[in-house]
């Protein structure tokens, strides 16, 4: 089987996902163009040799609709022979792109593939694409749909993570992210974003709040209490009758932030990379996708990680660093508990609670961050995993070469 290698990874900084956010004025296609330019330039890439671009986008409507991958390829001025496909695996989309690219390479049907994702959350808010799961009452009821925050709160309730526990985790994320940014640990991947006339818009992640403390978080009201009381709690508790009531502990400060951002990764076979004069940084050891209980939606990371580990013939102990997407604090804490992980090995540079979670791009971003950190620490193996809407989990294991 052909090996899939990572040659480069780039990402935009994450801009606050609302009016006034530094990336709010950039169209998602132009945001991607910044990264396509950088990828081409950094690798002196002959774009005609790229077979396909796989991009994740969770709200593929409006400016992000109609296959933004192909749109961005052409807008960025890459060779017209480069195809493009957009897919949506909810929060896993960015990592799904990488996994699909790896599978294309491993199957031997393609040689050089760009993977990544984009989400302009400030311009096309979550849910703008509707979806039967949410808006069609018959489907919604059949699935026992509840918003993810309700599931996150139920995880906290069942695992006994009280408000202080989840808040403490959030503070950790902020402190580690701030330190990483200040030390320049993200520098290798970060591409400063410029507007149409080249003026700088954003060079660093702007969502981080380094001053966050248990005290500042204590003042925040639970975000999902009201909608829980309106009926969502009852829906999920019908599935978990042993639980008397949902303890609502998540709020804006211990949940992932809404941000704009994009990421790309260049993957290829050994031969295709050599032909471009590129040096591989890591190889994809294994990847996995799995379904989990769909009402909670957020318990996929552990089973997906186990599946990927089994496929790679590895154990948890064989992994040097983990990135577990910080959708909500309880998600990370539960994955850590289920996989019996050492906290010192997970999310060592903070995560989405501090920096934000640009849905379609996040998976690709955290894999890039993981690779940068493995190199910085001169470690070998890393595993990135995310919980996924609709009750799924994804994981990818990489190994430096």
């Amino acid at each position: 089987m052909t090996q899939a290698y990572i040659y480069d990874a780039v990402r935009s900084p994450r801009g606050k996902g609302k009016k006034g956010g530094s990336l709010h004025q950039v169209t998602p296609v132009h945001l991607l163009k910044n990264l396509f330019d950088a990828l081409q330039e950094r690798n002196a890439l002959d774009t005609a040799q790229v077979d396909d671009v796989v991009l994740g986008c969770v709200t593929p409507v409006g400016e992000q609709g109609a296959d933004i991958a192909r749109t961005a390829v052409l807008y960025a001025g890459w060779d017209q022979s480069v195809a493009g496909v957009t897919q949506n695996r909810f929060c896993a989309s960015g990592l799904e792109s990488v996994n699909l690219a790896a599978m294309k390479l491993m199957s031997g049907q393609e040689d050089l593939v760009v993977a990544g994702g984009v989400e302009a959350m400030s311009r096309w808010p979550m849910g703008s694409d509707g979806g039967a799961m949410v808006m069609d009452p018959r489907v919604n009821a059949a699935m026992d749909f509840v918003p993810q925050g309700i599931g996150a709160d139920l995880i906290a309730t069942m695992e006994g993570f009280d408000r202080e526990t989840v808040d403490r985790y959030a503070v950790r994320s902020q402190q580690l992210a701030a330190a990483a940014r200040d030390e320049g640990r993200f520098a290798r991947s970060l591409v400063p974003i410029r507007d149409v006339c080249g003026l700088p818009l954003l060079a660093h992640d702007e969502f981080i709040k380094p001053d966050t403390s248990l005290d500042t978080l204590a003042g925040l009201k639970p975000s999902f209490q009201m909608m829980g009381d309106m009926g969502f709690d009852a829906t999920i508790l019908r599935k978990y009758p042993q639980v008397a009531r949902v303890q609502h502990v998540h709020h804006a400060g211990n949940s992932s932030g809404i941000v704009d951002g994009a990421a790309l990764m260049l993957l290829g076979s050994a031969e295709a990379g050599a032909a471009q004069g590129l040096k591989p940084r890591a190889r994809i050891r294994a990847c996995a996708i799995t379904g989990s209980e769909p009402s909670i939606m957020l318990t996929g990371p552990a089973p997906a990680s186990r599946k990927a580990l089994a496929r790679a013939g590895m154990n948890v102990a064989d992994i040097d660093l983990f990135e577990i997407n910080e959708a909500f604090a309880s998600v990370v804490l539960k994955a850590v508990r289920d996989l019996e992980l050492d906290m010192d090995k997970i999310n060592v540079n903070g995560g989405a609670i501090a920096m934000g979670h640009p849905l379609g791009a996040a998976g690709c971003m955290i894999l890039g961050t993981l690779l940068d950190e493995l190199e910085r620490r001169d470690l070998s193996t890393g595993l990135a995993t995310l919980c996924v809407g609709g009750g799924m989990g994804i994981a990818t294991i990489i190994e430096r070469v």
Partner: protein
């Protein structure tokens, strides 16, 4: 003919619906045929300038005929039935002339759907007139375009509560909601306004037939509506537990229909209608809450042909919760009431309950201040037996103690009308025994009210061994007169309702005794469709009371030399009351802790009933709770306590809220099918005890291929 066709000099046609031999117009083939004929005439007569659709009755049209629908088993047949009515309404709506619906009164269900297909709606502002789409209450949905036209008229979010709850609006409210366009003072005004509108709007058509039409508040994909759609199924199922497909299908009709054009929406509505019409929940609901309930109200359980002079003056003994509630219900229906307690203070306190209810009714404009004052003036608080003179009905609602009841019976009978009836509101003590203390046992009967009386719709009439047919007939008429539903049962310990209700809470406690998780027990109770989970319910009715009744039963059976086999749930009550001092909600401590309005299962339950190694599935728990009640009902039928299926079904739903989706305790068995019910009951008996063994009557019926009817 059901429709009178009359054309005036201005070319305005007045179609007056007036179905012969009926007090109200209903939609059936007798109406649809003539309506189609009238439309054909209109379509071919270009000189007609407008149409007024009205009714010759006090009301407009009451709804669709249920009888035919009840027997439909094929979805296609139900689909076509709905499509046919809709095709007629589209012809009316698109006849090219302005159409005004001029309603002298009530328009419900299909009646309102006809009105919605007109271009303008006027109704006489009559206090009894009601407008609404109550189909959901029968397990159905408005299949005549109601789920499509109403949201297009008043917006999705305003239409949904009306469709989902089947609320009926008074004229002023219907006007404010936008369902009516204008109110009229009388018939002449109604028709004059209709004519004026036609003259002023010669080119009127349905607003949704305009290409530029937008649904008020946006269509189904409008962001504000998308947010609502996301939570609507959860909000709904918080109430229905997902056991009622009708409101769920209504959501789908509105959601899907309001993404599309009205014709497509209407056809989709017919599909969802057909799914409901052939479904079991609709059949259950119609058979009990429509046909059987109507039979009961028409007097199915009343001795036929017996003359029964109405009561004039009602004496109520005991002014506690029950007595006070009964006093209100009687006074509300126009009876003079003597509310007697041991002290005048106590009696006055009971009367003040009616004062509070009257104040609330006035505040809600359900009553004028004059009506309230008149009602209160009919309730005479008293501490003197002599004031019972002239009462021809006395209802005792004193403490459940035989001696006390005997004493009040004797002293009342000494002063009351000698032809009158003495009724006991006991919920457990056999009537025949109580009647033995009466000098006139033929005039002695049980009238079992439910708490809170002002809200609960049922009265269980208990016929003692010596109760005369006339006494029963008078009591029956009285219950109807106070606007409650009577069921009639024969005398036995616990009668029907208390006896069967008890098996539900007992089963919950048996599950606890077996080490089932209390949260899971309660969740199963909710999921079964019972209005309250068993442990919470036992707290409400009080554990000490349950213990008292159980002890009384044990002593009585011992005294009579009858065998006594205590329910396994009883050990839980014993321990709760006698060792743990947790007597229920009133004392603030029961299965739940009640602190500052916060109700939580008492964590100590797990210490006293340690969790079992393996839990039961929720379905096992649900079946135990529901089968226990259904089987006890069968035993009541077997023993002759209950003699009519309608009494059993309506009594179970109205009395203690037995899973209404099932159509009642016996319909529950019909719906499952006797053979499968017996098989499951036998399995439960094998696993959980003989109380689940199917009684011989069931085997017999299954053998003969009968069901409960």
């Amino acid at each position: 003919m059901s429709i009178n066709f009359e054309q005036d000099a201005q070319g305005i046609v007045t179609l007056t619906i007036d179905m012969p031999g009926r007090s109200m117009n209903v939609i059936n083939s007798e109406l649809e045929g003539p309506l189609e004929a009238a439309l054909s005439r209109i379509e071919q007569a270009p000189d007609i300038t407008g149409i007024i659709l009205t009714s010759g009755k006090e009301s407009f049209v009451a709804g669709a005929d249920i009888e035919g629908l009840f027997h439909i088993k094929e979805p296609l047949q139900a689909f076509e039935l709905a499509q046919q009515l809709k095709a007629t309404l589209f012809r009316l709506e698109r006849c090219g002339r302005p159409v005004v619906c001029a309603m002298p009164g009530t328009a419900l269900g299909g009646g309102l759907e006809i009105a919605l297909a007109c271009h303008y709606r006027i109704a006489i502002d009559h206090p009894k007139a009601r407008f609404g789409l109550p189909e959901v209450k029968l397990g159905l949905l408005p299949g005549g375009g109601g789920t499509q036209r109403l949201p297009r008229l008043i917006g999705i979010q305003a239409a949904l509560p009306l469709l989902l709850e089947g609320k009926e609006l008074k004229p002023a409210k219907a006007l404010a909601a936008g369902i009516l366009d204008a109110l009229a003072s009388d018939r002449a005004d109604l028709l004059a306004q209709a004519r004026a509108w036609i003259s002023a709007n010669p080119k009127a058509r349905a607003r949704w037939d305009d290409r530029k039409f937008r649904i008020p508040g946006g269509d189904s994909k409008h962001p504000a509506n998308v947010q609502m759609w996301a939570i609507a199924p959860s909000m709904l199922r918080q109430k229905t537990q997902g056991l009622y497909p009708a409101p769920q299908n209504i959501l789908s009709c509105v959601f899907e229909g309001c993404l599309l054009d009205i014709e497509t929406g209407c056809e989709i509505e017919s599909r969802y209608f057909a799914e409901l019409a052939v479904g079991q929940v609709c059949k259950n609901t119609l058979s009990s809450l429509w046909f059987q309930l109507n039979d009961l109200k028409k007097g199915a359980a009343r001795p036929a042909g017996v003359k029964a002079p109405p009561f004039q003056r009602v004496g109520i003994l005991g002014a506690g919760m029950m007595g006070a509630g009964i006093a209100w219900s009687c006074a509300r229906a126009g009876f003079d009431v003597v509310l007697k307690d041991l002290t005048l203070e106590g009696a006055e306190k009971g009367r003040s309950h009616s004062q509070k209810l009257a104040d609330k009714a006035v505040q809600r404009r359900q009553m004028t201040p004059d009506q309230a004052a008149a009602l209160l003036s009919r309730i005479h608080a008293s501490a003197s037996v002599d004031d019972l003179a002239g009462c021809d009905l006395i209802i005792e609602a004193v403490f459940e103690d035989r001696e006390l009841k005997a004493a009040v019976t004797r002293e009342s009978e000494a002063v009351m009308d000698a032809q009158g009836v003495f009724a006991s509101n006991t919920s457990t003590l056999p009537i025949t025994g109580l009647a033995s203390q009466s000098t006139r046992p033929a005039q002695f009967i049980g009238l079992h009210f439910f708490s809170p009386v002002e809200k609960m719709p049922l009265v269980e009439i208990i016929v003692g061994k010596q109760t005369s047919p006339e006494t029963l007939a008078r009591a029956f008429d009285f219950v109807l007169a106070i606007r409650k539903t009577p069921i009639v049962v024969n005398d036995a310990r616990g009668f029907y309702t208390s006896r069967v209700f008890g098996t539900y809470v007992m089963e919950g406690m048996a599950l606890l005794a077996e080490g089932m998780d209390p949260n899971c027990i309660e969740a199963a109770g909710r999921a079964s469709g019972m209005p309250m989970p068993p442990l919470a319910l036992q707290d409400e009715v009080s554990l000490s009371l349950a213990w008292h009744v159980a002890e009384q039963t044990r002593k009585d059976l011992a005294a009579a030399g009858d065998p006594y086999s205590p329910h396994p749930g009883l050990t839980v009550i014993d321990k709760m009351v006698n060792s743990l001092g947790r007597e229920g909600k009133k004392s603030g401590r029961g299965f739940y802790d009640y602190e500052a309005g916060n109700k939580q299962l008492w964590p100590g339950l797990k210490d006293h009933w340690p969790p079992a190694d393996a839990g039961l599935s929720q379905q096992d728990m649900i079946d135990r709770m529901l089968y226990a009640q259904a089987l006890e009902t069968v035993r009541c039928v077997e023993e002759g306590v209950v003699t009519r299926c309608a009494d059993a079904n309506i009594g179970s739903i109205f009395g203690w809220g037995f899973a209404p989706w099932s159509g009642g305790c016996l319909q529950f068995i019909n719906a499952i099918g006797l053979e499968p019910f017996i098989a499951r009951a036998e399995e439960l008996a094998g696993r959980f005890g003989e109380r689940f063994a199917p009684p011989p009557l069931l085997h017999e019926m299954a053998h003969e291929g009968r069901s409960f009817e």
